[in-house]
Amino acid sequence: MDLRFTEEEIAFRREVRDFIARELPAATRERMIAGKSPTKEMVVEWQRKLNARGWAAPEWPKEAGGPGWSLAQRYIFREELQQAPAPSPLGFNINMCGPVIIEFGTEAQKQRFLPRMLNLDDWWCQGFSEPGAGSDLASLKTRAVREGDHYVVNGQKTWTTLAQHADWIFLLVRTDPTAKKQEGISFLLVDMKTPGITVRPIITIEGGHEVNEVFFDDVKVPVENLVGEENRGWDCAKFLLGNERFGQARVGASRERIRRLKVIAQESMDGGRPLMEDPDFRRKVTEIEVELKALEMTVMRVIATETKRKDKKPDPATSVLKIKGTEIQQMCAELLMKAAGPYAWVDGDPEGEDDGNEVDVAPDWALGLAGIYFNWRKQSIYGGSNEIQRNIMAKAFLGL
């Protein structure tokens, strides 16, 4: 047992850190330090820089265009991006749809889609959730009916993150309504420019536009865009969700938030002295730091066991990462808001559209922190709510 990183891994971390320092545009970094999501242009620009370096898809195998890294390297790379902070490779492309195509897709699909995913020539979005299918995803109703050499899709998806940017959507659709619920589902790739697709924004409580409803009205999808076998789409979905949870620990991102929190708590005054000098506040920060350190080690344990696993089934330990990872991020967001004091309450302008509200009355470091707190309540809901994670643990781990 040796729990340290090797010399090579430490050198690799330095290489990644230097690359980010050199290549990451200052505007992107500053926007992310302020806690805002990078714009589409910023994400695309960065993804292309990563792609030029061969680092666009840390988890992909070499033959698919990945760098062929060990799990430790992937972890280091993601951690360095998060704590820079720099945009991560676009999750829909790199961690969701890409791996499904690599695992289940045809050679033609790989040739056609993977290079464009890597370079973010196509922005993908995820069409899973529906108004009636949230935690109970398999109850989804969007229908796809085979007619000759295409499917005709009708129905509605919701919570579709950044569909407003997307060129393509990967969809779970019901192809056999008579089968048991998991067994009649298929996985389709759909061009967002296809006639019959309507995207309608959903504005979340902080005022931001991240998620959307997507409507499908007689949308024709070529049969060649089916991934895997018809009616076996649930296998793809399970595989994808397993991958998704792995990244939800976001240790580097939380470390960056805590660093930021400490800066803000120096700026923000409380009782005539910097808030950071208040022992009660400091102890709250410390409690999070400790949980984060433990989570970091849990991630490394999961990485170490995953490296040795032969089968592709998701490890139930990923549920620990999701629950703790999101709890820690939410606590960070809450403390950041509280640290800012009254100036956290100036209603921000998440979309950068000037709606006439005087946002510049607040100090830069305080602006938008309440919005992030409100927005981040999503974290314990998405990706399999934390309660679903507990169900999974009770079943898969504890045999209850």
Partner: protein, 381 residues
């Protein structure tokens, strides 16, 4: 990064597990508790045979050459059994004092005896007013010729009743709470002027109150004018071992609880079928896994060269282990219900040990304060 055990480590773990399965069932433990010593001399002898008592000492000094990982593995197994023997005090704490503070000559004399099970050590540190502050010392050490003479009172000296030698912190200079001026002394437990009153603690362990009246120390460990860094180092090693022990005890408490949830029937079905209880059990598992991660971190961080960094890391270990131990301990009782409130049932004994484990050398709250006063783990940007 490699979390796999070596062949030797696996052998150590398995042979200890086998011994404890054989000798440390709950009923057997009860019998050890009731015995006069309060633990098993037979099992202690078998620990010696397995090499557990010489574990952290160099092989050429008569030891086993084990490091922090081996200590963690042994501690975890002992935690699973909630073993009562003076292993932590003699081997981990005593061992660390000898490795880090004793002359080669003194080690040459003592290590073979410890390894053979013929010498037990106890750490006399706590005083009535000191609570968890290692530097809060009133016991005095007066220079007398070439040696030191000790006076004072020490409390909660774990296994202080059976130890043949005591390791005592005492002040050579300065005031009660000065960081400098603390020495560490080896004292024969039967020397003139040593009075011991042994007692049992709530977790079934043995301890002693010790009064020292003009007791001549046998040896000085480390620097008698500035022994606190040595004490810190030793306590950090003890914290790593306590973390392993707590993980072992939590694992058993959790397993026991989940098994019970599968068999206990109410309303015509196993209580484990109720989602409210399932989620609690899942949360216990999260707490346990976070604790296990921190125990692994402890095994790594205890070797950190910078003492300030090491202290902070071990403070974090204490916080996580303490928080997890409290939650797992309390909920294991709650999910069992009334049965776990009886002294005849094992679960409560795990809960009690976990509770004391948290408090040893400072509880989670103490270390949250320490860590938050020393800048925390993450540097401000």
């Amino acid at each position: 990064m490699d979390f796999d055990l070596s062949e030797e480590q696996r052998l150590l773990q398995d042979s200890l597990a086998k011994l404890l399965a054989d000798k440390y069932g709950f009923e057997q433990r009860k019998a050890y508790l009731k015995s006069k010593a309060g633990w098993s001399t037979e099992v202690w002898g078998q620990f010696a045979e397995l090499g557990l008592l010489g574990l952290p000492f160099a092989e050429d000094e008569g030891g086993f050459g084990g490091g922090a990982v081996e200590t963690m593995l042994v501690a975890e197994q002992l935690g699973r059994a909630i073993a009562l023997e003076p292993w932590l005090t003699t081997v981990v704490i005593g061992g660390s004092f000898l490795r880090n503070g004793a002359s080669a000559e003194l080690r040459g004399e003592l290590v073979p005896k410890i390894a053979a099970g013929e010498l037990k050590l106890a750490f006399a540190q706590v005083e009535r007013q000191s609570r968890y502050d290692l530097f809060d010392v009133l016991t005095s050490a007066r220079k007398d010729g070439s040696g030191y003479v000790l006076n004072g009172r020490k409390g909660y000296v774990v296994h202080g009743d059976s130890a043949e030698k005591l390791i005592v912190t005492a002040r050579t200079a300065g005031g009660q709470r000065d960081l400098k001026g603390i020495g560490v002394f080896l004292v024969d437990a039967n020397a003139p002027g040593v009075q011991r009153r042994g007692y049992r603690t709530v977790d079934g362990q043995r301890a002693a109150e010790i009064e020292l009246s003009d007791v001549r120390a046998e040896a000085v460990l480390g620097n008698p004018e500035n022994g606190l860094p040595l004490v810190d180092q030793v306590v950090d090693e003890a914290i790593a071992a306590l973390a392993g022990e707590a993980v072992g005890a939590m694992q058993v408490a959790h397993d026991m609880t989940v098994d019970y949830m599968k068999t206990r029937q109410q309303f015509g079905r196993p209580i484990g079928s109720f989602q409210a209880l399932q989620h609690r059990a899942a949360d216990m598992l999260v707490a346990l896994e976070q604790a296990r991660s921190m125990s692994l971190f402890a095994a790594m961080a205890v070797a950190e060269r910078d003492p300030a960094e090491r202290r902070k890391s071990m403070a974090a270990v204490k916080v996580q282990i303490g928080r997890s131990a409290r939650f797992v301990g309390q909920q294991s009782i709650q999910l069992h219900g009334g049965i776990a409130m009886t002294i005849e049932y094992a679960c409560g004994h795990y809960f009690k040990r976990l509770t004391v484990n948290d408090a040893m050398f400072g509880d989670a709250d103490h270390y949250v304060r320490y860590l938050s006063d020393t800048g925390g783990l993450v540097q401000a940007a």
